[in-house]
Amino acid sequence: MEKRVTFKGWKLPLLLILPQVFVSAVFFFYPAVQAIWQSMFIPDPFGLSTRFVGLGNFEYLFSNSHYRASFVTTAVFSLLVTLCSMVPALFLAVLADRLVKGAGTYRTLLIWPYAIAPAVAGVLWLFMFNTRIGIVSWYLGKLGYDWNHVLNGAEAMGLVVVASSWGRISYNFLFFFAALQAVPKSVIEAAAIDGARFWRRFFTIVLPLISPTTFFLLVVNVVYAFFETFGVIHTITGGGPQQSTTILVYKVFSDGFVGQDLGSSAAQSVILLVVVGALTVVQFKFLEKRVHY
C-alpha cells in the first residue's frame, strides 16, 4: 500500500514545484541544450567563426582510441572510489555506533576531512606521496619499494582514488551513522536473544534495514566520482601518466579549456550526460528493487 498525498486542483502543486523547475531550467536544461547545440559545430576559440559538422565531433571522438580507453579508466576509477569511500565509511559508522563514551568527539573528527576542498586534498596527498620529498614515499623507499606515481599508471590511479575517497568517507560516514542510529534497537535485541552474533545481526538485519541509505549513497558517490573528482586529478596527475588517470570529465576540461576545442568538449559533455543518465536509470531500475524502504 502506497501512501499518496493528493492535492485538489493543479495550481498549488504547480506553484510548489515552480522554484525547482526554474532552477533546473536555468542550471541544467539551458546549458544541456546549449551543449547539444555546440556539439554539432567546430568553433574557433574566439567565437569569430563556426563550422557546422553535424555528428562530426562524435565521429572524431569515437575514432580516437584514447577517448575510448577513457571510458574504461572512468569505470575503474568510479568503481574504486565508490568502494573505497563507502566500505570504510560503513565500517567506521558501525564502530562509532557502538561507542558509549566520547562518540561526539569521534564523530566530529571523522567529519573533518569533508570540509577540505578536493583540490586541497589533492595537494595534501601529493605532498605525502611526492616521489622525492613525500614522507610516505620516503618510508616506502625504506621498505624497499620505489614509489613513482609520475611514471607508474597503477600507482597514479591508486593515489587519485585514495585522495578522492578520503574526504568522501566523512560524508558517507555521516549518512551511515544516521541510518544505523535509526535501526530499531528492539529488532537487534530480539535477534541477540535468539543467539545471533554481532556480524550475523549486521548482515541479516542491519544491512537490509539501512539499504535505502546505501542505495542513495551509491548513486551520489558514482555521480561524485564522475564529476567532482576533477580537482583531485588536476592537482595530482593532470590525467597522466599516459592518460592512465584521464577520466571523461577531465578530458572535457582539458580539451575545452586547455585545448580550446569547444566543439569536441561539448560533444564529450553530451556523451557524459547520456552515460550518467543511463547509469542512474539502471541503478533505479535494477538495484532499487532490492531496496526495502
Binding site: P45, L48, R51, G240, Q242, V258, Q260
Partner: protein
Amino acid sequence: MKKFAIGAMIAGTTMLSPLVASAQTEIQFWHAFTGRLGELVDAQVVAFNGGQSDYKVVASHKGNYSETLNAGIAAFRAGEQPDILMVFEVGTATMMGAKGAVKPVFQVMADAGASFDQDAYIGAVKGYYTDTDGQMLSLPFNSSTPVLWVNRDALTAAGIDADVDLSTWDKIGPVLDQLKAAGSTCPLTTAWQSWIHLENLSAYHNVPFATKDNGFAGLDAELAFNSPLQVKHVQTMGDWAKDGKFIYAGRRNEGGANFRAGECALFTESSAGYAGIKAEAKFAFDVRPLPYWEGVEGAPLNTIIGGASLWVMEGKDEANYKGVAEFLNYLSSTPVQAQWHQDTGYLPITAAAGDATREAGFYEANPGTDIAVIQMTTNTPTANSKGIRLGNFDQIRTIIDEELEGVWSGGKDAQTALDSAVTRGNELLRRFEAASR
C-alpha cells in the same frame, strides 16, 4: 597578500602619485605572473603610470598561462576583453588565427604614430612572434631558452673535475656513468621535457620539428619529430632512465626542487631558473650551454625561446591604443629591459638592453648569465630554428609528455613513442585546421 605587496610598493616608491585623475585613459593588462615576477611586473606598471599622466595601466593577474589565455578568450566573447593580454608561446598560433580579435603590434604602433624600430629587437626572440613578412604581431615580454645547470659540488664529490667538458651529449654519457658509480641518486634531471628535449633539440640540430617551416608557412603543417636524430636522443635518455642515470620528476619544472636541494648533478632547465637557483642552492653551481650531439651538421645552431608575449586585443578606442603603444615602447626601452633581464634571467628583447647589461658589468659579476643570450644569438636562425607555430600546441605537448613518459618508464621504445606522438598530434593539427578555415 598581493594587495599588500602592491600597497607596500606604492608606499615605498617616492616618485609616484597613485592618485588618479579622471581624465586618464585606463589600459587593462592581464598577465600570468605571481610571486617575485608578479611584483616586478607591478613595479614596471607603477613606474609607467607615475612617469606620465595621460594613461593608467591596470595590471591584473589571471592565473597561470593557460588560465590567462582562457580568461582573455572568455572575456573577448563577452565583449569585455583587456587591452593587453599575455599569451604564452604555445598559444601563438591560436592568437594569430584569431583575426578580428587581435590587433597586430606593428599595426598598433603605426596607427598611434609611435616610433617603432623592429630591427632593434633580437631576431631569435621576435622571430617567434612575427608574420611571414617579418612584421611583429605581438611584443615579446618574457623569453627564456634552455641551458644546462651544473651542481659543481656533486661532480667533485663523485671524483669528477667540476670543469669537465659537458658541451655534448656524447661527453655527458660517461660523466653520468661516473656519477652513478659514485652513488649519485640523480645524475641528470630535466624540466619541460617536450620544450627542451624535442623542440629545442630539433632547432639546435637544424632538423624540422614540423613541416612547413615548423608551421610558420601554413596551417597544413605536419609533425616531423620522429626522425633519426630525435629518436636517438629520446632512446638515449630512455636508456639512461632505465639505469637510474636520468631521473624524471614531472612534466613541468618539478625537477627544479631536486636540483635546488642539491640532489641532482645536472639539470636541463630554462635560463629563467636562475633567480630560484641563485636564491636556494647551497652549493656551487654554474651554467653551461645546452649540450648537442657530435657529428650533426650545423649543430649547435641556436635554441628557441619559451615564455610569453603581449597581444593587443581588438575593439578598443583609439585613445586606448595610443596608450598601449606608449606602454609597449616603455617596456621595450633599454633601462627597463636591462633591469628586467638582470632581475629575472629572462632574455633581453632588444640588443641594446643586452649591451647595457654587459657594459654595466653584470655578466662578469654573475658568470653564466649571458650563456642564454650567446646561445640564442651566435648563429642566424634557419626555418628549423626560428620557432614553432602550431595550433593546439598545448595539447600536442601533453601528448608528447604522455609518450615520453612511456619511454622513461621503459614501456615503449623511442621510435614507437615518437611515431605515436606524431600520429596523435597530427590529428589535433587537422582539427585546428578545420576550426580555422
